[in-house]
């Protein structure tokens, strides 16, 4: 195309709705239009002269840079979906196109990237597909979608919420969504796993302690309720809380006050309580291991999250969701799961629920560098078993550390020990490869 001379390029750049910026060969930003500033949240004068990775904070800046690829190959790239994190801490999906920039003699002197915010497009696409979303929760299940519909109202109410469901069903995601949708969203979100802290330490962890309260208490320490002031405290595994402490928690819920261990001075509790458990609290109440009054006080609003096996419509959706996420984070281009893999996943029971599906795909990403995820990329315990007369026991699922080590060793073998070639195939840096080799496969 013939481009007229003396055209006001600056005016054209400023009139565009898409963000446009250019870099030189040292990755220094040389121009940055108004729309780029609006999408990214940085004024053009603050961006020009800085390295592009200090301005963009995108999912591909650390290792999978589109401009670097274009400058290296001389080719263009278009409509790639990535995400950026803006200075206000919000994650925004964008679509980018990139090209090398050449001077009059045809020498590459830098690159140009254009991008647009596709948040609204993604929201509309999901609506059309019958997908309900809220924060990090995505679902096609009508039962889950109903809960997501109710969630903003529940969040706004300020009531105590009890989340019930098997391990890995997303109770913490729901708790976080209740916090971010509530008027307390500007305050802290403090998560405490009551099952992970020994009973005798849990009281001090929750309510803090005064100086000299016990042998090692050389200084006073504030607890998690005090840290959650103005925000939300998430009490996970509430069913593991000792009975003696249940009485104190009940007092906090009823009277909004607590005393740090070893102190007589009451403190006001200003934190919304969201609790969760995978245990059957009603059965625990019946057998006397959980207080009935606390159970009812906690469960002002009670949400039961269905296990993944009861919402098979979410398996394909979550698979696509996690693959897109891993692609963005790892800079890979895995197109999806093969029909055989999808068949297998749809027939799997998922005792570990959504977390298990996420782990399966993370494992598959280690072995699959592009194209489709196939059966060979899945953990052994998922693949159809080959009968062996010598061993009737199902193989144990490998750890993530062992899987990474195995993937690295296999790639090195394929490339006759050439580390950089193995790194390129696996999509990891040489530092990561060295670390995986150093830490070994574990037990």
């Amino acid at each position: 195309m013939h481009f007229p001379k003396n055209i006001p390029c600056q005016a054209i750049m400023e009139s565009l709705a898409d963000g446009v910026f250019t870099v030189d060969r040292d990755w220094t930003v040389t121009s940055f239009n108004r729309a780029a500033g609006e999408i990214i949240g940085i004024a053009p004068e603050a961006a020009v002269g800085r390295k592009c990775w200090d301005v963009f904070h995108s999912s591909i800046c650390d290792g999978a840079c589109a401009l670097k690829q274009c400058i290296a190959t001389g080719d263009s790239l278009s409509n790639t979906s990535i995400f950026i994190v803006r200075p206000d801490g919000e994650k925004i999906p964008i679509s980018i196109s990139a090209s090398p920039l050449r001077d009059a003699s045809g020498q590459i002197v830098g690159g140009v990237e254009t991008f647009r915010d596709i948040s609204e497009l993604q929201r509309m696409r999901k609506e059309l597909q019958g997908i309900a979303t809220l924060d990090d929760i995505v679902t096609k299940s009508r039962r889950m979608a109903r809960m997501l519909e109710m969630l903003p109202k529940i969040a706004a109410s300020g009531s105590t919420v009890l989340l019930l469901g098997e391990s890995g069903t997303g109770k913490e995601l729901f708790a976080r969504a209740i916090h971010t949708q509530s008027p307390r969203k500007g305050g802290p979100f403090v998560a405490v796993n009551c099952g992970a802290i020994p009973g005798e330490l849990l009281e001090s962890e929750l309510f803090g302690h005064a100086k000299g309260a016990f042998t090692d208490a050389r200084t006073a320490r504030k607890g998690r309720f005090a840290s959650a002031k103005g925000g939300t405290i998430f009490l996970d595994e509430i069913g593991d809380m000792p009975l003696a402490l249940q009485v104190k928690l009940l007092r906090v819920l009823q009277e909004k006050v607590f005393e740090p261990l070893g102190s007589d001075t009451p403190q006001t509790a200003d934190a919304r309580v969201v609790a969760a458990t995978n245990r059957d609290l009603e059965a625990m109440v019946a057998e006397g291991t959980f207080r009935r009054d606390l159970f009812y006080r906690l469960g002002v609003v009670r949400l039961v999250l269905p296990p993944l096996r009861e919402r098979p419509e979410d398996v394909a959706l979550l698979t696509a969701h996690f693959i897109a996420g891993q692609n963005a984070v790892q800079g890979k281009n895995v197109s999806g799961a093969s029909p055989e893999v999808m068949r297998l996943l749809l027939h799997h029971d998922f005792p570990g629920n959504v977390r298990e599906l996420q782990n399966i795909l993370e494992y598959a990403f280690i072995l699959c560098s592009g194209g489709q995820i196939d059966l060979e990329h899945l953990p052994d315990y998922l693949r159809p078993a080959v009968p062996s007369p010598a061993d009737d026991q199902p193989p144990a699922a490998p750890t993530m550390r062992a899987a990474k080590h195995a993937a690295v060793m296999a790639a090195l073998a394929r490339h006759q020990g050439r580390r950089m070639a193995a790194c390129r195939e696996l999509g990891i840096t040489k530092d990561t490869l060295r670390r995986i080799l150093e830490t070994g496969p574990g037990e």
Binding site: S58, C61, K91, P188, F189, V329, R435
Partner: protein, 134 residues
């Protein structure tokens, strides 16, 4: 960053979320989590921490177990910042620069001078701020 905290007044273990020889653009895409012991005006490399299998949600716990009490990193979402603050780890997000430059800034207590463009002081302190435009 917390300007009132004295520089390296006692030995502390600091984690830098890096990509190659610079701070990673985003915490969640960092290729290496390098640990440095800071004492007596020096920062000494002590090893690396692995990103846990479950990714960022497991990182505050992993860093705490490793004894880390401060994290210096590039961009981070609000949720991510909340997780580290709740875990009691001091966090300096939205910092940009080469590893050597950042370590020198840590030792001399001037990390805030390395704020990424467009970042307001409150955001860099790990709090909730506005759009952060300059």
């Amino acid at each position: 960053m917390n300007e009132k905290t004295p520089a390296a007044s006692r030995p502390s273990l600091i984690c830098l979320a890096c990509y190659e020889d610079r701070l990673a653009s985003l915490l969640e895409t960092a290729a290496s989590l390098r640990l440095y012991r800071v004492a007596d005006g020096r920062a000494v490399f002590t090893g690396e921490c692995l990103m846990p299998g479950e990714g960022l949600p497991g990182l505050p716990g992993a860093l705490r177990r490793a004894g880390v009490n401060r994290l210096v990193c590039g961009g981070a979402t609000c949720r991510c910042v909340e997780m580290f603050l709740a875990a009691g780890i001091r966090m300096d997000p939205w910092i940009a620069g080469q590893v050597d430059e950042v370590l020198s800034a840590v030792v001399h207590d001037r990390v805030s001078a390395l704020r990424a463009p467009g970042i307001c002081p409150r955001r860099a302190a790990g709090g909730r701020g506005g759009r952060g435009r300059q």
